[in-house]
Amino acid sequence: MSLSTIIFYLLAALTLLSGLLAVTTRHIFRAAIYLLFSLLFISGIYFWLHYEFIAAVQIIVYVGGIVVLIIFSIFLTHQSGQELPKQKIGRTIFSALAAFCGFMLILLQVYQHEFVSTSEGTMEASIDNIGRQMLGTSDNGYALPFEIVSILLLAAMVGCIVIAMRTPKEIREGGL
């Protein structure tokens, strides 16, 4: 067993473990930290697969952006140190059963399906190739989705401002 294989299994185990802890722990702040580690180990898997650009984007956007945003919202909406209320045991059991059944069903499909790969050479996922194709307007170019995503981000920004905006009446009355 080579070192690369060992690293892969280590990353996989840590990803799944921290993901599981993120959805089961009752301290909400710990859940956010476990989520952070899970996302970090997933970016490690991207590094292992030699998709360095995606790994970097994963760290920048998820770990640096979304998790920080989630931690901010936890600070704004919870007293620190407060535990989440305990779930009903029946709900937990049936949720675990449903998730496990779905997991086994999908896994059965995955292992029975015969995947066929192409043998037409490889295209390295370098920044150069990615940039040229993402902004390309030829057959395989992704310029149009790129523009649509930029409009979506603008719309999300405007939406956030509109949702967070308070009416003048609320400001006069004070409050949070």
Binding site: T5, F8, Y9, A12, T15, L16, G19, L20, A22, V23, I28, A32, S38, I42, I45, L49, Y51, F53, I54, V57, Q58, V61, Y62, G65, I66, I70, F72, S73, L76, T77, L84, Q87, R91, S95, A99, G102, I106, L107, V110, Y111, F115, S117, T118, S119, E120, T122, M123, A125, I130, Q133, N140, Y142, V149, L152, L153, A155, A156, G159, C160, A164
Partner: protein
């Protein structure tokens, strides 16, 4: 486009032979497990922030799937990479809007429990 459909065929003879060398099936196993961990969290959690965390886990498992298929099945193309980049961008936008809604809800109800969020409008 002519693809040699018999080259590099990975086949599990008899179904459940587990190879030690990591390949497509291993990554698909991880992403499936992560997906259903997210689904489990989505079922059991009552708090809107933790539900958002579960959704992020699900989105990440899908990204992992795209990258794995790109790496092992279509190494001559980069489509999986682009899908992943766009999913990450959309997830960021979704998280920002969701957190704006959650904080606004907390301002009005002093609670972000889903049971108490029956009326999002007033």
């Amino acid at each position: 486009m002519h693809r040699d459909r018999h080259a590099h065929t990975e086949r599990n003879q008899g179904g459940w032979i587990i190879k030690m060398e990591p390949g497509l099936n291993h990554i698909l196993f991880i992403s499936t497990a992560l997906f259903f961990i997210g689904v489990f969290g989505f079922f059991t959690r009552k708090n809107l922030v933790t539900i958002l965390m579960s959704v992020e886990l699900v989105l990440n498992s899908v990204n992992l799937n795209f990258i794995a298929f790109n790496k092992y099945l279509w190494p001559n193309r980069l489509d999986g990479v682009f899908f992943t980049v766009f999913i990450i961008a959309i997830a960021a936008a979704e998280a920002a809007v969701a957190i704006a809604i959650i904080i606004n809800l907390y301002r009005n109800h002093q609670s972000i429990n889903v049971d108490k969020a029956e009326e999002l409008k007033y």
